[in-house]
C-alpha cells in the first residue's frame, strides 16, 4: 500500500469538456492594435460618433499605462500586437429569427447546453449569447420589453439607447480605472446590456453566455446592468472556450448600477479553458467587475464560481454609496494543475449603515496557486458600517498554494469589521471515512468539496447551482490518485 500522502498527490488530467472548436465562418481582423483598429471596430459596428470618441480617448489613455503586476500571478509578457481585436461569425448581420443563425453556431450552443430555442421559454431564462465578440441572439426580448425591460446586446444598446449608454457607461468603471479596463473601453466589441425600469421585478433570470471560438483573438466584452429605483434582477453569466495551445486574452468589464431600493444579483460560472495539465494554453482572464449601490437601501450581490482560465485576475466589487446599502460577494475559486487565480473583492463603504459580506472559498489542487485578495474600506462618515469576511482555503496535495491578502482600511470609528480565515487540507481521514461507507475517492472528493462550498452554492439560482456542482467535480476530476 502506498504512503500516506500519495493518495492526494497524483494529479491526472480531468479533461476539459468544452474544448471543441466550431467551424463557423468568421470575419477576423489581423493581429495588431492602433487607432485604425479602434476606428475599424467602431465603423464595423456602425457606432455613433460619441462611441468612437470614447474608444479613442480610452485607447490614448491606455497607451500611457503599464500592465499591472502586483497580483500573485506569473505569466510571460503579453504581446498586445499579436492579438486580433475583432472576430465576428460571418454570416448573420441582422438576425431577426433563429432560422438566420448559422446552424453550426446553434450546435455550438447546444453542445454548451444552451438552447436558444423555444424550450428555453419553459425554463424561463432569457439568454444573450456572445460568441467571440459578437452578440448573436437575445431571446425573450419581446416579452421583457412589455415590462419596459431592455435586454439586448451592447452594440444594439449603443444605437437604440444612446442616452442610457452615455449616462452609465464608464460611470462605475471609468476607462482610467486600470490597464485592462482601458483596453476594453478602446476595443470592446460586444456584450450585454440590461435596464430594469423603476419598480419592476424582472420575472426571469437574465443570462449571457460568452464563448471564445476563433484562434488568436481576444475577447473584450462589456456588460452594463442598471436597476432603476425599486427594481430587481438576477443575472447569470457563463463562459467557455475551446482548447488551444496558445494563450488567449479575455479582458471584460462589467458595470452594475443599483438605484435606491433596487437589487441586482449577478452570478457567474466561469469555465474558460484552463490550459492543459502542464500549463500549456488557456485563457488569460483579466476582468474588472464593479457595482455601485447608488441610492439608499440598494443591494448588489456577486456570486462567482471560478473553475477555468489559466490566469484569473478578478475582483468583483461594490461601492456602497447609498445609506443602508448592502454588498455581497460569494466566491468559489478552484485551481488545478498549473492554474493561477488572484481573485477577491473590494467593498467600499461610503454611506451610513452600509453592510457588506464576503465569503470566499478557495480550492487549490495540482501545482496551482490560489489567492484571495480583498479590501474592505470604510470612509469617514460611513457611520455604523459593518463587514463580515470569511476566507477559507482548501488544499489538495502538497504542491499547490493558497494565499490570503486581506486589506482593511477603516476611517470611521463606528465601523465593525470581522474577518475569519481558515486553511485546511482535504483530509485523508475524511476521504477514508467516505470510502468506508462505500463512496469511492473521486466521489468522496466531490462530496467534501461541495460540502465545503455549500454556503456559496446555496446563493446560486437552482439550475446554475446544479451545473456548478458538476463543474466542481469535473474540475477536480482525477485530482486524487
Amino acid at each position: 500500500m502506498s504512503g500516506s500522502n500519495e493518495i492526494l498527490e497524483e494529479f491526472v488530467q480531468g479533461e476539459y469538456k468544452y474544448g471543441f472548436t466550431s467551424d463557423i465562418e468568421s470575419d477576423t481582423l489581423p493581429p495588431g492594435l492602433n487607432e485604425d483598429v479602434v476606428r475599424f471596430i467602431s465603423t464595423k459596428k456602425g457606432e455613433p460618433e460619441f462611441m468612437l470618441e470614447y474608444r479613442l480617448k480610452a485607447f490614448r489613455h491606455w497607451l500611457t499605462m503599464k500592465e499591472p503586476h502586483w497580483a500573485h500571478l506569473h505569466y510571460p509578457l503579453i504581446n498586445y500586437q499579436n492579438i486580433s481585436y475583432y472576430s465576428a461569425p460571418k454570416k448573420p448581420k441582422e438576425i431577426k429569427s433563429l432560422d438566420e443563425v448559422d446552424p453550426e453556431l446553434l450546435r455550438t450552443f447546444e453542445k454548451l447546453g444552451i438552447s436558444l430555442l423555444e424550450q428555453k421559454r419553459l425554463s424561463g431564462v432569457a439568454v444573450d449569447a456572445v460568441i467571440d465578440s459578437v452578440s448573436v441572439k437575445t431571446t425573450f426580448k419581446e416579452s421583457l420589453s412589455k415590462l419596459g425591460i431592455i435586454f439586448c446586446s451592447f452594440s444594439e444598446a449603443v444605437k437604440e439607447h444612446p442616452e442610457l449608454i452615455k449616462k452609465y457607461m464608464g460611470s462605475v468603471v471609468p476607462y482610467t480605472d486600470n490597464y485592462f479596463a482601458a483596453l476594453n473601453a478602446a476595443v470592446f466589441s460586444d456584450g450585454s446590456f440590461c435596464y430594469i425600469p423603476k419598480g419592476v421585478r424582472c420575472p426571469m433570470e437574465l443570462s449571457t453566455y460568452f464563448r471564445i471560438n476563433s484562434a488568436g483573438t481576444g475577447q473584450f466584452e462589456r456588460t452594463l446592468i442598471i436597476a432603476d429605483e425599486g427594481a430587481y434582477v438576477s443575472y447569470l453569466e457563463g463562459c467557455t472556450a475551446p482548447m488551444r495551445d496558445e494563450n488567449q486574452l479575455h479582458a471584460a468589464v462589467v458595470e452594475i448600477v443599483s438605484h435606491a431600493d433596487a437589487e441586482v444579483k449577478y452570478s457567474t460560472v466561469q469555465n474558460w479553458y484552463p490550459g492543459d495539465k502542464d500549463g500549456k494554453g488557456g485563457i488569460y482572464n483579466f476582468v474588472t467587475k464593479r457595482g455601485i449601490c447608488l441610492g439608499n437601501n440598494a443591494k448588489i450581490s456577486w456570486t462567482q464560481v471560478e473553475t477555468g482560465s489559466a490566469i484569473t485576475w478578478k475582483y468583483p466589487s461594490v461601492i456602497l454609496k447609498g445609506d443602508n446599502s448592502v454588498g455581497e460577494f460569494y466566491s468559489i475559486a478552484v485551481t488545478n494543475h498549473m492554474q493561477q487565480a488572484d481573485t477577491g473583492t473590494k467593498m467600499t463603504h461610503l454611506g451610513r449603515n452600509t453592510k457588506s459580506t464576503i465569503v470566499s472559498k478557495g480550492i487549490a489542487a495540482g501545482k496551482s496557486n490560489n489567492s484571495y485578495r480583498g479590501l474592505v474600506k470604510v470612509n469617514r462618515g460611513a457611520s455604523n458600517a459593518r463587514n463580515f469576511s470569511q476566507c477559507d482555503s482548501l488544499l489538495m496535495g502538497n504542491n499547490c498554494g493558497a494565499h490570503t491578502f486581506p486589506y482593511i482600511e477603516i476611517n470611521d470609528n463606528s465601523a465593525q469589521v470581522e474577518h475569519e480565515a481558515t486553511t485546511s487540507k482535504i483530509g485523508e481521514d475524511q476521504i477514508f471515512y467516505c470510502n468506508q461507507r462505500g463512496i469511492d475517492t473521486e466521489k468522496a472528493i466531490g462530496l467534501i468539496v461541495n460540502g465545503y462550498c455549500r454556503e456559496v452554492l446555496n446563493k446560486l439560482p437552482m439550475e446554475f447551482a446544479v451545473e456548478a456542482q458538476k463543474l466542481l467535480a469535473v474540475s477536480l476530476e482525477g485530482s486524487v490518485g
Binding site: 500500500m1 502506498s2 504512503g3 500516506s4 500519495e6 493518495i7 483530509g427 485523508e428 481521514d429 475524511q430 477514508f432 471515512y433 467516505c434 470510502n435 468506508q436 461507507r437 462505500g438 463512496i439 469511492d440 475517492t441 466521489k443 462530496l447 467534501i448 461541495n450 460540502g451 465545503y452 462550498c453 455549500r454 454556503e455
Partner: protein, 253 residues
C-alpha cells in the same frame, strides 16, 4: 465470514500486528479487548483498508474474497462497516445526503436499482427509531459540532442504515453516558441477525453486559494472546492485564 490469518502489519517501519489470527462466523459477536496501544484500532483500520498501514504478511478474507486486493470503498460495498473510534466531521454535507450517496453507491455495486426517495425516507425514519437518534442530528452536517457521544451514536445510526454483514465497532462505548450506552447496545442487539456478525472493540466489560459476546479475545503486543468467553471479560475487569502480560512474557521467552 471473516478469516484473518497470520496478519503482520507495520506503520512507518514499526511492526504493530505480529501474526494475528481471527475467525468470525456469521451470527457471532466477538469482543476484542487489550491494553492501550496494543493494536486494536490498527486491526480495525487494516480490515477496512486504510492506506497508512503496510501489510507485511498474512491474509484477510471476507466471504471468500481476498480483502487485501480491494480498495476501502469496495470492502464497504462487500458489506463491511467500521464504526470509528474517532469519527471525522464533513462540513456542509448532511448525514442524510451522505447516506443517500453511500447507499446508492453500494446498491450500484451490487447491481441493484437506486433506492426510491420515499423508501429511503421510510428506512431513515425506521432506523432513527432503532438507535433513538434525533432527526435534527441527521439533518446536520456529518458529525460537525457533534458531541463525542452524538458522534458515536451517529456511527451506529449509519450502521443501521447501511445494514452491513460485518460491523466492527471500535470503542463505540467510550464517551457514551449510561443511557446512551444502553440505547446503542439495544440498537445493536436489534440489528443482530443470524446472517451478520459483530466485532466489538472495548475496554469495558460493562458494554458486554448489554451486547453479549460469543467470544472474547485479548490483543496484546500485536497478537491475540488469549481467547475465551464472556467470563474472560469479567476476569480482566477484576484483575487487569498484568497477569496476561506476565503469562505472555513467559511465553515469549
Amino acid at each position: 465470514m471473516l478469516e484473518i490469518k497470520d496478519l503482520k502489519v507495520s506503520v512507518e517501519g514499526k511492526q504493530i500486528l505480529k501474526g494475528l489470527n481471527l475467525t468470525v462466523k456469521k451470527g457471532e459477536v466477538h469482543a476484542i479487548m487489550g491494553p492501550n496501544g496494543s493494536g486494536k484500532s490498527t486491526l480495525a483500520s487494516v480490515i477496512a483498508g486504510k492506506e497508512d498501514y503496510t501489510v507485511d504478511g498474512g491474509s484477510i478474507t471476507f466471504n471468500g474474497k481476498d480483502m487485501l486486493e480491494l480498495s476501502p470503498d469496495e470492502r464497504a460495498k462487500e458489506g463491511m462497516f467500521l464504526a470509528f473510534q474517532y469519527p471525522v466531521e464533513i462540513p456542509g454535507v448532511s448525514t442524510i445526503n451522505f447516506l443517500k450517496t453511500a447507499i446508492s453507491e453500494i446498491r450500484q455495486y451490487r447491481g441493484l436499482p437506486p433506492m426510491e426517495a420515499k423508501d429511503f425516507l421510510k428506512v431513515l425514519k425506521e432506523k432513527q427509531k432503532v438507535v433513538e437518534i434525533e432527526a435534527n442530528l441527521t439533518g446536520r452536517s456529518v458529525n460537525e459540532g457533534f458531541s463525542g457521544g452524538e458522534k458515536k451514536r451517529n456511527e451506529i445510526f449509519q450502521m443501521a442504515m447501511l445494514e452491513p454483514s460485518l460491523a466492527i465497532l471500535d470503542e463505540t462505548d467510550s464517551g457514551l453516558d449510561i443511557d446512551a450506552l444502553r440505547i446503542v447496545a439495544t440498537g445493536v442487539n436489534k440489528l443482530r441477525t443470524k446472517e451478520n456478525a459483530f466485532v466489538v472493540i472495548t475496554h469495558y466489560q460493562r458494554l458486554l453486559e448489554y451486547i453479549v459476546p460469543d467470544f472474547v479475545h485479548v490483543l496484546y503486543q500485536g497478537r491475540i494472546v488469549k481467547s475465551g468467553t464472556r467470563e474472560l471479560a469479567l476476569e480482566l475487569e477484576g484483575k487487569g492485564y498484568d497477569w496476561i502480560k506476565k503469562e505472555f512474557s513467559e511465553l515469549a521467552v
